[in-house]
Amino acid sequence: MSAADTTTPAKVPPTRPSPPPPTAVTKPPGRPKSAAVATPWLLLAPCLLILALVMGYPLVRLVTLSFQKFGQSQLWGFQPAESVGFANFSNVLDDGEFWQVVVRTIVFAAGCVIFTMVAGMLIALLLQRVSGWVKTLVNIALVASWGMPIIVATTVFKWLFDADYGILNALLSKLPGVDFVGHNWFASGPQGLAVIMLLVVWGAVPFVVITLSAGLTQVPAELEEAARLDGAGPWGVFRYVTLPILKPIIVMLTTLSVIWDMGVFPQVFVMRNGHPEAEFQLLTTYSYDRAFVVNDYAQGSAIALITVVLLLGVVAVYMRQMLKIGEVE
C-alpha cells in the first residue's frame, strides 16, 4: 500500500486551477455554522429517491419473486402470486443443467478476465518501448475499439466469423494445409464461446491498457534503475518494482472485469440471433430464458439472485480496494 501512496500526488488532476488566490492566507477559513447537518441529505435526497425506486424496489422484488410462484397467469393478474418458500431454489439447484451453466459461466468469465488482463498488461508494457508514431497508431486503434458500441462490435464479429463469407475462414484457408472453407464456428458451444470470449476481450482490453499505461507513467524511473543496478533482470524489475506499485490498479481492474464478464449478455444473445442454444447458455442468458421464454419469472429471478450472490465476494474485494484508496482523501 505504501508503494501505491507514492503514486497518488503525481496524478495529473483534470482541472487543476492556476494559482490559488492569495487572500486566503491572512484569515483562517471561516465556515458558517448554519451549514447544518441537513444540507448534505437534502442534496442527496433526489438521487437516493430515484435509486430507491429504480434499483431498491426491483432488488427487493427480485428477492420476493424468487420465493413465489410467478408465471404467465400471475403476470396478467389472473392469479395472485403465492409464496412457495425455497421451492424455486431447490428446483434450480437440483437441476443438472443449472450446474453445467454455472461451471460454463465461471470458466468463460475466468477466461475473459485472464486474457483481458494479460493482454492489457503486455500491450501497456509494449507501448512504453515503441516509438512515438507506433504508440499513436496503437492508441487510435484502441480508442476506436473501445468506443465501438457492444452491439456493433458483436455484429462485426458475427460477420468476421461468418461460415460462408467471413474473412477469417478465407484467411485461415490460405495457410498451407488448412481448410476452413465453410467452417461454422458456432456449431459447437466451446468453439462459439471462444469466439465470443475473443469479442469480449477485444472490447475490454483498451480500458485496461489505457488505465495501466497511466499507472505505468507513475512508476518512478529511479526505482527501476536502482533495481537494475542491483542486478535485477527485466522480469525481476517487473515482478518486484512495477507490479507492487500497480497492484491497487490491477486489483481494481480485475474485480471490475470479473463483474462485467460475469454479466455478459448481449454478445451471446445477438451472436446466437436471440435464441442461444443450450451449449451457449451462461447464467445471464439462462435466467432470461427461464423468465421470458419459459415464462417462469420466479425461477428466472432465483437464478439472477444466485448470480448476484456469487458476485458479492468479488464486489467486496473491489469495495475494500476502493475504500482503502479512498482513505487517502
Partner: protein, 295 residues
C-alpha cells in the same frame, strides 16, 4: 502523459548500455514491429466493418474476399436506410439518452457535492451504497424491472426506459463527478467565502467554472452509455418503438443476414459514437483514474 513514459523505456538504457544485451536500435525495431502487429489485430474489425460497408454488395459475398477496398459505393447505406425505418429509432434513442443525461447530471451533481464537500454521519455508507449499486449486473434486474414497468403501465413507453436507464447512469454520474470535484482544492471555495461569498455563491462562481469541462465529459460519456444500451431497450419497448441499437437486429431475417448493409448500418451507428468518445476519452480516463486513486 506520453512524454513521461519514455523515461522508463529505452532512453534511460543508453546511460548503461553496457548492461543491455542487444543493440538498442535493433531492439526498438523489434518492439515497433510487435506494436504494429497489435495495431493491425486490434484495428482489423473496425477496418473490416468500414471496408464491407463501402464495397459493392456482390463483392461482400465473394468466397475469396479482397483485403483492400474493391470500389466505393453508397448502395449499402441506401439499402440499410430502406430495410427498416432508421430515423425513428435514432430519434427515440436521442430522446432517451438526452433525457437520461439531463436528469442524471442535475441529480448526480447534487449528490456528488454532498459526498465530496460535506462531512456528515452516514457519508461512507452512502458512498459504499452508490458503488455497490453500480456493481449489480443490469441483466439480473431485468425481470423485476419489467414487472415494475408493467405495473406502472410504463411498458413500451420512452419514459419507462428513461427511468430504468437511471439505474446505471446515475451512480456512474455521481461517482465520476465526485472524482472531478475532489480534484478542485477546497481552499478556493473557502477563500471565496472569506471574501464574503455565501457557500452557494462560492460554488457557482468558483467551483462550477472549474467543474464545467468535467461535467461536459461526464455527460457525453453518459450519453454514449445510454445510447449503446441494448437489453433494456429490447425488452422494455415493442418492435414498433425500437431504439437505434435494436434497429441493427433488422438485418437478420429468416432468409439470412444481409451483411454488407448491416455493416453500413453498423458504421452509421458507430462513427458518431466513436467520434464523441474520442473527444472525451482522454478527459474521462484522467478523471476516472484520478478519482479512483484520490478516493
Amino acid at each position: 502523459m506520453s512524454s513521461v513514459s519514455s523515461t522508463s523505456g529505452t532512453t534511460d538504457m543508453k546511460g548503461m548500455s553496457a548492461l543491455a544485451s542487444a543493440p538498442p536500435r535493433k531492439r526498438k525495431l523489434g518492439w515497433n514491429l510487435l506494436g504494429l502487429l497489435v495495431f493491425v489485430t486490434v484495428g482489423f474489425p473496425v477496418y473490416w466493418m468500414l471496408n464491407t460497408a463501402v464495397k459493392p454488395a456482390k463483392d461482400a459475398i465473394d468466397p475469396d474476399p479482397s483485403l483492400l477496398p474493391t470500389g466505393v459505393t453508397l448502395a449499402n447505406f441506401r439499402r440499410a436506410l430502406a430495410i427498416a425505418d432508421f430515423w425513428g429509432p435514432v430519434g427515440r434513442s436521442l430522446i432517451v439518452s438526452l433525457a437520461v443525461v439531463a436528469i442524471g447530471i442535475v441529480v448526480g451533481m447534487l449528490a456528488a457535492l454532498a459526498i465530496s464537500r460535506f462531512a456528515f454521519r452516514g457519508r461512507k455508507i452512502v458512498i459504499v451504497g452508490i458503488l455497490a449499486v453500480q456493481m449489480v449486473p443490469l441483466v439480473a434486474m431485468i425481470i423485476p424491472v419489467f414487472l415494475l414497468l408493467n405495473d406502472l403501465e410504463q411498458y413500451d413507453k420512452l419514459t419507462g426506459l428513461i427511468i430504468t436507464y437511471l439505474t446505471f447512469i446515475l451512480p456512474f454520474t455521481v461517482w465520476t463527478l465526485r472524482g472531478f470535484i475532489v480534484n478542485i482544492p477546497k481552499e478556493l471555495e473557502e477563500a471565496a467565502m472569506v471574501d464574503g461569498c455565501s457557500r452557494t455563491a462560492a460554488f457557482v462562481r468558483v467551483v462550477f467554472p472549474l467543474l464545467a469541462p468535467g461535467m461536459v465529459a461526464t455527460s457525453v460519456y453518459g450519453f454514449i452509455q445510454a445510447w449503446n444500451e441494448y437489453l433494456y431497450a429490447l425488452m422494455l419497448l415493442s418492435q414498433k418503438h425500437q431504439t437505434a441499437t435494436v434497429w441493427l437486429g433488422n438485418f437478420t431475417t429468416k432468409h439470412g443476414t444481409e451483411y454488407a448493409p448491416m455493416m453500413a448500418g453498423s458504421t452509421m451507428m458507430a462513427v458518431p459514437i466513436v467520434v464523441l468518445f474520442l473527444l472525451v476519452q482522454r478527459k474521462m480516463a484522467a478523471g476516472l483514474t484520478a478519482g479512483a486513486v484520490k478516493g
